[in-house]
Amino acid sequence: MADISLGGEPRAVDGIQSSYMAQVQRRRLYGGLTLLIFVVLMAAGFNVADSRNAGGFWDGLHQIGDYPAEVLSEAWEKRADLPGLIAKYFPALVETINIAAVSTLIGAIGGLFLSLLGTRGLAKWPRLIPLFRRISDIMRAVPEIVIALVLIFVLGGGPVPAIIAIAIHTAGALGKMFSEVAENADLKPVEGLASTGATWSQRMLLGVLPQVAPNYLSYSLLRFEINIRASAILGFVGAGGIGYELRNAMGWGAGRFDDAAAIFILLFGTIVFFDQVSSRYRNRLTEGQGQ
């Protein structure tokens, strides 16, 4: 048994070789067909999209650099004003970041409850798990901008509609991510706490949260980054913040491309800054536990 057969029966090897070759041929055939179908669908889909396009993809392609070139050249001519403009738009940036921070916080709390109530083994009312899951699906499915537009119509422009819109979407998205983490949590501490007569909220607070907190925080920080972008975009529809200023500045022919450049610099710097900070914290939370 410990011996290695060096010769073996040549026929057996031939059989294995030919059956494996047949398998390889089949796999290559399937792979080639899949590739062919993919290429055909891509080409057909592109042609349909291009024919319905108002301008035409190929006609517009060479103009793709025109707008950035104009912004850059105009901003370069008035480069002396840039520091002043950056200072001018900084309060608007703070407003955008505040919208993102508040909505992330509210959304994370909402997501926490949705996730705990919608996870098998943890839910307070197991029969209602599908209900909470569908609620978080709906919150996730409706784009922020749609909720914001409706709310601006009802409540008027400003940061509050943006906060509510982003918080709703965040709660749905984080509820999904959180419940995936919670599914993998160890249920033994929960059972131990239940044996002492602890209530549901005590069991969750002491038995589940310590296990999942690093992952929850890490997802929330990721969401915060996404929400900064979302809150800047919502400014376009009148929710205040730096997005509103950007929309006013970036229109063609308004002669305010230096303002637009300053806002782009601020946005880019902010996103890089928070990306760096949060990735550092996320690494610490997920890898460097207990150090």
């Binding site: 410990a2 011996d3 057969s5 073996g8 494996y20 290559r28």
Partner: protein, 271 residues
């Protein structure tokens, strides 16, 4: 043939390998022994160029290996196969594909993506598997195999590279005694029949004694012994392992036969 000259590896404050000198003039089966953390793995990984040396040189047949970069370095890695303790196969791919990975250095990424290995290579891979006694496992996924079988697939991948040197980093540390014997015999046969150089890190003395022509002992990054298995006395072994007088070779044995020896029974009586 292979010359390692004053090779060192430092990780910050720690020195993992401290000025190692090894010279090999003909294909030999070499066993490197020592405690865990003695620098055995680091040494092998530097020879394969998986990690870079802090100082010193490695020369193979007149070519300075330690200075190679880019494609030349990968070409060296294809000539110097490595076998790992945890096998390091791709678990979800079938056995033959894993063996064919030995030819990756000669294939473009495009050909690899569409699984376009030549028929001759596929046949050769199955012949190598047959030589190692696991041809029947060819179409299975690597993860479905037992540890001993997976290690033989890893050896087959190494042989597919048609290397001059085979480096084996603790090849049997994850295996039971029976499979350990099969794997060590396979390595020995490759050495004897193909004339390839084999350098194996081993954690048990008797394996090194039984299968190797030359034994190198490492302790705290330094080479403290280099000689034939006969020169490796119990006293030398105690030095290598930093053990006291209660050290017995049989106590570290993974061979089945040694279990019958009286001294093991005594050792077990102490425990």
């Amino acid at each position: 043939m292979l010359t390692i000259d004053a090779l060192s590896k430092r990780f910050g404050e720690n020195t993992a390998v401290d000025a190692a000198n090894i010279s090999v003039d003909k294909p030999t089966m070499i066993g490197i022994i020592g405690r865990s953390g003695a620098g055995k793995s680091t040494l092998l990984r530097m020879v394969n160029r998986l990690s870079d040396a802090s100082s010193g040189t490695i020369t193979f047949e007149g070519e300075e290996i330690s200075a190679l970069r880019g494609a030349a370095k990968r070409d060296w890695q294809s000539r110097c196969a490595m076998i790992f303790q945890q096998f390091n196969l791709v678990p979800r791919m079938d056995v033959v594909s894993n063996v064919l990975h030995g030819t990756l250095n000669k294939r473009s990424t495009f050909a690899t993506m569409f699984n376009l290995y030549p028929q001759s290579d596929i046949h050769k891979a199955i012949e190598i598997l047959d030589r190692l006694g696991i041809a029947e496992q060819a179409p299975k996924r690597a993860e479905a195999l037992s540890g001993g079988q997976q290690q033989r697939v890893a050896i087959a991948r190494a042989l597919m590279q048609d290397p001059k040197i085979i480096l084996a980093d603790e090849p049997i540390a994850s295996l039971d005694p029976m499979n350990a014997q099969v794997v060590m015999q396979a390595l020995r046969r490759i050495h004897e029949e193909d004339g390839r150089m084999v350098i194996a890190n081993l954690h048990t003395l008797d394996t090194a004694r039984r299968y190797c022509d030359r034994v190198i002992g490492m302790r705290d990054g330094r080479i403290v012994f280099d000689g034939t298995p006969e020169q490796l006395t119990t006293g030398v072994a105690r030095d290598i392992y930093g053990a006291g007088a209660d050290f017995s070779e049989a106590a570290t044995s993974t061979e089945i036969e040694t279990l019958d020896r009286a001294e093991v029974r005594e050792a077990e009586a102490y425990v």
